[in-house]
Amino acid sequence: MKQILRITIGLIISCLAAGTIMGSAYVFTAKAKKHNEHQKEQDTMLGLLGYGKGKPAPSALKLQSIYRYVIDEKGSKYLGYMFPVKKGNDSGYGLLVITLEGKFHAFHELKITAEQALDAGEREKALAAVLKGTFVYSDETVAASMDGKRVAYLLPGHFQGFKTFIKVMLAVDPSYDILGLEIMEHEEDPGLGGDIVQDFFKNQFKNKSYQKLKQLEVVKEPLPEEYRKALEVKKGAMSQEELQRIRAKYQDSDIYALTGATISSKAVTDGVKGMVKRFAYRVEVLERVVQSQKIPAAF
């Protein structure tokens, strides 16, 4: 009996001590960690738009998030778009609810500040205040505009890879041509499918037009040497004209599969294709409703 008590108390004390250490480490680091994650996402976005070290983003560049929710009200489903709106001189957030067929359903103004909108919990609180039904978060789109003119959309997303999901960030211009692709997280086989993060693979998507993208295929042919050099952007390795010539030559080529990783190559190609196609449809519906209802959208 005494033994059992000693063991129990010993375990309780060690668990408490371990819990306290881990908990305090979390308390001290949580804010910095969240900040880093947000920073990483921002850096990736700016990188895709062509800004980075040595070329800082101009202050006129504005990145604004549009959050999409699937809303269930009395058994019927709606899509809810939460985005910044103009409210006199201030800017606030609004929620536009549209039916699955793309018809206007309702518009709510939300009581939330731009700072709070970054936090998923705060967003849900604000939405719960105006919505009667249940809602599920679906995805986020970032609209980049410069001096009131739309320059690009940034699409964070994920799709099925060889083993598990591949998380990516995609940049498209207002006519849905691809500006760039960045792989955020993946668990493909190192040395094989893992090469999807290499410049010579992911940069093949760069500058593909929307028309071409719709019928983009994966070809199992070796990557031409000059194309590989042009894709691996190394400074001074190639003159500007040479680069232009090669880019133009391969503008409409299909995606060259990675050696030994056809499934990963195909997964990324199909994933990107699907993401852009779905996005193009959704954003057109959204813009139409915003314009026909004269909603003071600020994105």
Partner: protein, 207 residues
């Protein structure tokens, strides 16, 4: 309690050579086979293990007199888990560049046999200073093993070293696949065993 009679430098080289965790003790084979596909992976996992091993060994060695012998294994696991979590959080918060590369490896370490084994065999029976050196030796031994495996597999499989192109093509794709991990580990064990034999013979001749 049987205290070790080895000096600190002997403890260090013990982990690196005669009791190398991967090639002599055959522990933590899962990461040795699964992750050692490139030198960089080997270095990152090796460094992560080194830190966790040193922190855990020192902790256990410091509190060994208060651990009830019946619950020592749960206590070891708890200690390792605590240090892994703390290192993971601190890296993510203050060294995001390193975390980006090392993040997935750090989380894997909780289940590593080598760390629990060193706590049970050494840290729980010895004072703080020898435990520290034993942990450093074991950590570097693991790092050395991972880098060796990574180098062999990266050069033969991808034709690169630390990402720099050496051959310009993939000579033997087989070496990147998991099966080749066993193959290379087996080969390295044979070399270690042979070296052991040679040293023993040399000693016998002298004696």
């Amino acid at each position: 309690m049987a205290h070790t009679k080895k000096s600190n430098s002997q403890l260090f080289f013990n982990g690196l050579l005669s009791e190398n965790p991967i090639f002599r003790l055959a522990l933590s084979m899962c990461p040795a086979v699964g992750i050692s596909t490139s030198v960089m992976n080997g270095i990152l996992l090796g460094v992560a293990v080194l830190f966790v091993q040193v922190f855990s060994s020192c902790t256990i060695s410091a509190i060994k007199n208060y651990i009830h012998p019946r619950i020592r294994i749960p206590t070891y696991t708890l200690t390792i888990a605590t240090w892994v979590t703390v290192i993971d959080l601190v890296l993510a918060a203050y060294v995001p560049a390193a975390y980006k590369e090392m993040g997935i490896f750090v989380k894997l370490i909780v289940a590593f046999a080598i760390i629990t084994m060193r706590l049970e065999m050494f840290a729980a029976k010895n004072p703080l200073i020898p435990s520290f050196w034993d942990a450093v030796g074991m950590g570097f031994g693991f790092l050395f093993g991972m880098v060796t495996l990574g180098a062999i597999r990266e050069i033969l499989g991808s034709g690169t070293f630390l990402g720099f192109d050496l051959v310009g093509e993939k000579p033997l794709l087989f070496f990147i696949l998991p099966a080749a991990g066993f193959f290379v580990v087996g080969f390295m064990m044979a070399i270690y065993n042979y070296m052991d034999l040679v040293f023993k013979r040399m000693k016998e001749k002298k004696g």
